[in-house]
Subunit: 616 residues, 2 copies
């Protein structure tokens, strides 16, 4: 051992002890004939004092930043204590030292506010990982994993490893594939998730399974997506949705307690997918603040049930105000408002900037309507030409705008407008300080649609995955209706559009951190599901024959969930970027610039694998 | 929840409680008008009693083996108790029941002594996994993982995930590669181990790292090898070999205690690689029994130092006996004996069978010489024609054969003969009952050669891997000698042949369960090592430039080890087969016959990846 103690453990009680430390030179400070060196390791910083004689020796073996140094000496009480760090009351009076390794000057400063650009930090990731911020992130990640394992063990789950070299069954995202040398012309695929394996383990009777496991998706990388990512993957037998929800809000609360010291004792709010879409415009709402969406105009055929609670007010509004007076409202499919608390004082400039913001291509709206509900009871709006004060007041009253609030209104096509106002809501929440990263709010979103309409193929695709079970009451709707969509324009009228799934997402501060479902466990329903997704019998058998067959040998009712560990850690760490919570991430082109991977391979390797490159 | 209790938890103290159980039908026994059903889940078996009225209902809903059943009833004390199982004092008097899922008749019986053949068991792995034996194996594996994590956490290690999509650097085994769609013509490789990443983490200052991680090797599969396997991968900074040995024999002892309840308190024996080769004929000796190898004749140039301890006896033998009398001994490079205790009564038939055994192609010897050291003091041998009783006695005395022992002698080329007699030693150990699977013996083998001679390429290859450090005293031997081997026939005389590594293997019952080394942490030595392995500067930079560069920024001294989890579990479980300790293993062709993977993939997938198949 090169040391007797770490750089993080010495304190006043060690005074007089002879110790040997090893670590990295953080700083060197000369004061006349003596020299101070801060020595750093994973555990902390300790000050080394080189007296006059030692300083002379130092001059013969000069140190530099990031040199690896071993030093032996006596623990001494400091006259000038630094109470900000645990070791700050003592220093080591160095009696001998040895440079274990030198260091070139790092390409960027190794501190939290580094001067390194993104590319440089990625190329020298091993130096970036020395920064305290990244070290804290990886330690947090380890703590989250540990807490997860500890809770799941207490609950009777066992960790079972599933294979990485599996079969390609493209459905949804693209698979990464691996050519097999021993089986020429054949390929393995890397798993997008261990979904079918965990279901087989339930059929095998393992009852409660979990795994913290890498998964792979060959997707075009949007910002903050990684081709390989880590899931906390769980499955349980003999459960209903309620059991899963309770088990896993328990998990997240346990992690809060263990990792962040937060007692999250309140019940986790539950809302339906429809409720989320109506009230927040998306399926992973940030419920740390209210600022709900209110429809001034509704397209005829969707979400009718969820609108019941505001129906009376909606009708009252429409009897007192003729929104059609304003041509933009008249021509729009949807008109949606949010009431921004205390923002009636927004200046013309601020409102113009918001208008520009919604007109950006990423949002893509034509414009923004505002109504200021002034403190003095008057109203000022961008549509004063079309509406009298009474009409503005009626709109403000319907949208629960108080004095001092600012109403923001978007109009246009249903889906686009809802998405845009949802983004605007998040922006305003951010600006008003409602999205404090140290404030955590969990939410269950339930009753997702089972199917999603694919415009490209004019067919149904699985919203979650093909193994998700429909609500029991709606199984008949699937069995009794042909999946074919006769009229693409009216796909929402197809019986499948309203089938809800036994599926649930857990949302934390506006991010989906986990999702799962109660699975299908009967062969007939699974077959019907495959056929609903446009798979013929032969194809279903080729891709998932093993699972269909397994359902014949006593498959228990089962369900589960998977959490995205990278994202979970990022949110716990108060960051937007999952990359900062992965030791060796890839960039947006899926490249590891440190390794320079992917790269070309030898002709011999290609030929052994029985493949060749096509002309590029 | 479909149940109030599991099938493993009810006992006499629950008598009178109303419970609901869910599980699989293990057996159905009818006695007149009543029916007994044993219901099984992961946790145990519970007997259900269907009285006359319930049995009538059962007839309307007949059960079969492996049906999934939910039953509600009252816990009752059994008249006919089964004290072999924890739940055997009670039964459930069923009041209502529901068949949750039916089961077809399984293709084999689901019990430890199943009637299923290997192919059938692999295809229906999910049913095989229901057998108690496999369930125990997977639980043992989970317990080994848990104990590992617990010990390493206590010792300050943190679990850090390293990437799976890395760069292909073929050196040793073949890589599995993954074509990159986003980087046409480029490939990722799957890691053979996280070796370079864990070294980078040491350079980053993480001090103690571990991971239980999948690794991949595209090798031709010998029996009981898997293309994907799991390692317990560990690395430490500021350590010397002794620190690593102590830390990790601590780990294995901890696992023994936690998983097997065994107090392995004795010190782990340590022998050098040369000692192992001389005394046991291989580098992972089973030291549960002695039966050492003794050379009657030695090739001139190898292992001279390790022979010192028997040199005097060796010389004495050769002055008293002229082994050259027997032409086979005269012509052989090596003659090696083992003394098999208490086997002098072996019959002619048994000896003939042993002779056939060593002549099998897998062993490949020409014949077997025996000398019986009879209880009456006489000797009987297959070479009586050439040697007198006194000569046989001298040989017996040199080889420490006692009265009643059987000497077995092989002669031939050094490497082959040593290997053969080592196999013969294991066979005899097995037959004499010295290899009890419930008896565990750990061993460290140290001081491995740094290099191995590759006859194919007439160059040096790394015996462990290119990052292993040489013994400090031998660094000069590498620096001062050219790697080129002028005379292939005399490669053993090259200075590199005698360079020893700071490398160590942990052996358990004759199996290598782990291996590691103190690593090189200086750029110049690493560069010299690459060049010794025949890599030119450009190649070294292309493959491992990131590591060489990392060594320039303050790399600490470091070392580590990796254990093969699959093998470790198999030995702990008293089995020869790692496959029985992997949930979903592949067969000897690297195929998963359950999934039918690998398989062909769509033309669209191939074209997106910019590859095509060559003509097969």
């Amino acid at each position: 051992m090169y040391r007797t103690h770490t750089c993080g453990e010495l304190s006043i009680k060690h005074t007089g002890t002879k110790v040997t430390l090893a670590g990295w030179v953080q700083t060197i400070r000369k004061f006349g004939s003596i020299t101070f060196v801060d020595l750093r390791d994973r555990y902390g910083l300790t000050q080394l004092l080189f007296n006059e004689a030692m300083s002379v020796k130092l001059e013969a073996n000069p140190l530099g930043r990031e040199y690896v140094l071993q030093a032996t000496g006596t623990v001494t009480e400091r006259t000038n204590k630094n109470l900000n760090i645990p070791t700050g009351e003592v220093e080591i009076t160095v009696e001998s030292f040895l440079v274990l390794n030198k260091s070139a000057v790092p390409p960027f400063t190794i501190q939290n506010d580094t001067d390194g650009g993104d590319d440089l930090l990625m190329k020298y990731r091993y130096l970036d990982l020395r920064r305290p911020e990244l070290k804290e992130n990886l330690l947090l990640r380890y703590n989250v994993s540990r807490a997860t394992r500890s809770y799941l063990h207490q609950q009777g789950f066992i960790d079972i490893e599933t294979p990485f070299l599996i079969k390609s069954t493209p459905e949804g995202a693209r698979d990464f594939v691996v050519p097999s040398r021993m089986n020429p012309g054949h390929f393995y695929a890397l798993p997008q998730s261990p979904q079918t394996f965990k279901q087989l383990l339930m059929i095998s009777g393992y009852d409660r399974y979990y795994q913290i496991v890498k998964c792979f998706r060959d997707e075009d990388l949007r910002a903050d997506r990684q081709p390989e990512f880590t899931q906390i993957d769980c499955e349980m037998s003999f459960v209903e949705q309620e059991d899963v929800l309770q088990m896993f809000e328990g998990l997240i609360k346990y992690i809060f307690k263990e990792v962040k010291g937060i007692d999250y004792t309140e019940a986790v709010e539950r809302i339906s997918w429809e409720y989320a879409m109506w009230n927040f415009g998306n399926d992973k709402p940030d419920t740390r603040f209210d600022m709900r969406l209110l429809n001034l105009k509704v397209p005829g055929y969707v979400f009718s049930e969820s609108l019941n609670e505001v129906k009376d007010e909606f009708n009252k509004l429409h009897t007192s105000v003729s929104l059609e007076e304003f041509p933009v409202f008249a021509n729009a499919e949807t008109v949606i408002a949010i009431s921004v608390p205390g923002a009636s004082e927004y200046t013309r400039k601020q409102l113009d900037e918001l208008t520009e913001w919604v007109k950006r291509p990423q949002i893509g709206m034509q414009g923004l309507v505002y109504i200021k509900s002034n403190e003095d009871g008057s109203f000022k709006s961008s549509i004063d030409k079309f509406f009298k004060q009474e009409a503005l007041q009626a709109i403000a009253s319907y949208t629960n705008a108080n004095k001092g609030d600012l109403l923001l209104i978007l109009a246009g096509k249903e889906e686009k407008t809802r998405k845009a106002i949802s983004e605007l809501r998040l922006l305003m929440g951010e600006r008003l300080g409602f999205r404090n990263k140290n404030n955590f709010k969990l939410l269950w979103v339930l009753d997702f649609p089972l199917f999603e309409y694919s415009q490209d193929d004019n067919r149904w695709v699985a919203r979650h995955h093909p193994f998700t079970s429909p609500k029991p009451a709606q199984v008949e709707a699937i069995i009794n209706n042909d999946p074919v969509i006769e009229d693409p324009a009216a796909y929402l009228k197809h019986a499948y559009a309203n089938v809800k799934a036994n599926a649930y997402d857990m949302v934390l501060n506006g991010n989906e951190i986990g999702g799962g479902s109660i699975r299908i466990h009967q062969r007939e329903i699974q077959e019907k599901m495959f056929s609903a997704l446009g798979m013929n019998e032969e194809e279903a058998k080729e891709k998932f024959g093993f699972l269909l067959e397994a359902f014949e040998y006593g498959a228990p009712p089962h369900g589960g969930i998977a959490f995205g560990l990278d994202r979970l850690c990022a949110i716990f760490g108060g960051s937007e970027s999952i990359r900062d919570f992965i030791a060796f991430p890839k960039n947006n082109s899926g490249r590891d610039t440190m390794l320079d991977a992917p790269a070309s391979i030898d002709k011999k390797q290609l030929s052994e694998l029985n493949i060749r490159l096509t002309d590029l």
